[in-house]
């Protein structure tokens, strides 16, 4: 809880630190003054150690929660699909049918080509990101406190507040954009689309520059929009939890109610933009 820390800065930074697993080099001085005799794979304590682990470090909490939530999504939807009835749907089946219909309607209104994978992709993206964002509504101290009881020093429970998770998903979408562009138009067609518009052929370098920036901006904006929103939301929750506990509900309840709108909206926008980008990859100019 907030009272256990020296300063509020320390409390906030502790909450913004991922559980990082990585390799520290030989002769590295740890947080407690211990000097490593050989290169070791270990859990980082503090932001400096996590930064010194370099590129090969992995955020264990982000991986665990995102895969866990993905598994939860698959399990619930599989269970409903196995027990599906043709009569009037009730309970969970009703809910799942509503989501599937909602995604199906949106994809049909945007994506006019024949591809059986786009709607399932949209469903996965929407529900998975929604579940990841939903972890934001769990009070910020509960899970890190429970984790500290079993000896885990850091725990950031919202995978989408980690830029690595959102950038990973955006990269997946980017690869699909490239794949479908090349599949539909061929390498030559795709290159021509990049090079010969919007201006005529004599302005090739200018066209190429403009279109490449536009292409790269798609995954970057996807990743940073989701990350930025969720990070800001988490930040506000952490700031609110610095208040005395009897005052917290006056701010955290309205913010949580508002946040329900944001998390759904961001999951929805990520899904819609994924489908729009893939539809653009299919369209010929």
């Amino acid at each position: 809880m907030a009272g256990d820390y020296e300063t509020s800065t320390e409390y906030i930074q502790h909450h913004l630190q991922n559980l990082t697993f990585g390799k520290l080099p030989e002769g590295y001085e740890r947080y407690d003054g211990e000097v490593l005799e050989s290169a070791t794979w270990t859990i980082a304590h503090g932001a400096t150690e996590a930064a010194d682990m370099g590129f090969m470090a992995i955020h264990v909490d982000t991986m665990f929660w995102s895969i866990f939530l993905g598994g939860l999504f698959l399990w619930i939807f599989k269970k409903v699909a196995d027990n599906v009835t043709t009569g009037v749907p009730a309970g969970t089946q009703n809910f799942v049918e509503m989501i599937v219909d909602f995604i199906d309607d949106n994809v049909k209104s945007i994506f006019h080509h024949k591809n059986p994978w786009i709607a399932p992709l949209g469903l996965t993206v929407f529900v998975w990101i929604f579940l990841q964002n939903l972890m934001d509504l769990v009070p910020v101290d509960w899970i890190p406190w429970a984790a500290s009881m079993i000896g885990i020093p850091y725990m950031k429970v919202v995978p989408s507040t980690d830029v690595n998770a959102t950038a990973g998903m955006a990269l997946g979408v980017f690869i699909l954009i490239l794949y479908y562009s090349i599949k539909q138009k061929g390498v030559g067609g795709f290159a021509a689309e990049l090079a010969f518009q919007p201006l005529p052929k004599w302005a090739l370098p200018f066209n190429l520059f403009l279109e490449l920036v536009g292409l790269i901006a798609k995954p970057v904006s996807l990743a940073l929009r989701l990350f930025g929103n969720m990070y800001a939301g988490e930040m506000v929750f952490i700031i609110i939890s610095l208040l005395p506990f009897y005052l917290q509900w006056t701010l955290s309840v309205p913010w949580a109610l508002f946040h329900i709108l944001i998390i759904t909206l961001q999951a929805f926008i990520f899904m819609i933009l994924t489908v729009v980008y893939l539809a653009m990859a299919y369209d010929h100019h």
């Binding site: 509020s8 800065t9 906030i12 930074q13 913004l16 949106n106 940073l224 929009r225 930025g228 929103n229 990070y231 800001a232 939301g233 930040m235 506000v236 700031i239 610095l242 944001i262 909206l265 961001q266 929805f268 926008i269 819609i272």
Partner: protein, 75 residues
Amino acid sequence: MEASIITLAGALIMGLGAVGAAVGVGILGSKFLEGAARQPELIPLLRTQFFIMMGLVDAVPMIGVGIGFYILFAL
């Protein structure tokens, strides 16, 4: 001196971000109501598009608030 400049920077980030998005969402909302009044049968379609645009516009000040809080409290 430095702390007060950081505070000012946080205030500017949050304030200016909010101004821009407020104007944007205001125009968006007025146009949405106008469209809905002219063609009530298009409301479901317009509402979806309205929420997409609102999410896109809304992202910028929210990110501003996040960065602002970070530099105010955690830096």
